[in-house]
């Protein structure tokens, strides 16, 4: 009988880790700056998922506070990047 803890440890977390690696390839490759911004945003969003699974596994609900802050930072970062990339061309 597979327990839920083992399932989270050996299936869910590896899938999320492989996702972060694949996105990181795009972050390194990405021909334009905007590709990198989107990849960074997606890495942070995946990080929220990893933190959630880790909070479930370690039975510590406090980690969800970190997820709130990460969601806020991801949004602010994307908006700031978009704002300055758009203004950059006018100079």
């Amino acid at each position: 009988m597979i327990t839920l803890e083992a399932y989270f440890d050996y299936v869910i977390l590896p899938i999320l880790s492989i996702s972060v690696m694949l996105i990181f390839i795009r972050l390194l490759k990405g021909p334009a700056v905007v590709d990198r911004v989107v990849a960074l945003d997606l890495i942070i969003t995946t990080g929220i998922g990893i933190i959630t699974v880790y909070a479930i596994r370690s039975n510590q609900a406090v980690f969800l506070d970190v997820a709130i802050i990460l969601a806020l930072i991801a949004f602010l970062g994307t908006v700031a990047f978009a704002y300055y990339i758009e203004k950059q061309k006018d100079d």
């Binding site: 905007v34 997606l42 998922g49 991801a74 978009a82």
Partner: protein, 137 residues
């Protein structure tokens, strides 16, 4: 019983995030990558957070999880729209198989306003579509 529900929700969530990451790696140009990743990643993280809300019997955890899901659903499309608009202004080329670019010539280059009439001087016949795969890859 509740273990099966948790396993199902977390599997679908993790697979959504995996498909989003495969999409950002494999899609041929920036706009397709943007459209693939934002929706799938929001769905995946939302399902994982619902998992956490079911797992902890505390009311505060449920409220926190719902707050994060609500925040993600509100902010992800706004961020995606802003970065897509910035990409269009800085001249990121579209995929070479693109058939129509209906925004071509509709933006005012000076004021960054969108207009329904075509501006004079801007050529709608010449949208910013890539000639080869290498430009957008």
């Amino acid at each position: 019983m509740i273990d099966i529900v948790l396993a199902l929700l977390s599997t679908v969530g993790a697979l959504s995030i995996l498909f989003a990451s495969i999409g950002i790696l494999r899609m041929p140009d920036f706009y397709l990558r943007l459209s693939v990743t934002v929706k799938a990643s929001t769905l995946g993280v939302g399902l994982l957070l619902i998992c956490a809300a079911i797992m902890f019997p505390d009311v505060s955890v449920t409220t926190k999880a719902i707050a994060i899901i609500f925040f993600l659903i509100i902010t992800a499309p706004i961020g995606a729209h802003m970065i897509g608009r910035a990409a269009y202004f800085t001249g990121t080329p579209l995929w070479k198989g693109t058939i129509a670019d209906q925004l071509a010539g509709m933006y005012d280059e000076e004021t960054h306003k969108l207009e329904s009439e075509e501006n004079e001087g801007d050529d709608k016949e010449n949208p910013n579509i890539a000639k080869t795969d290498e430009e957008t890859e």
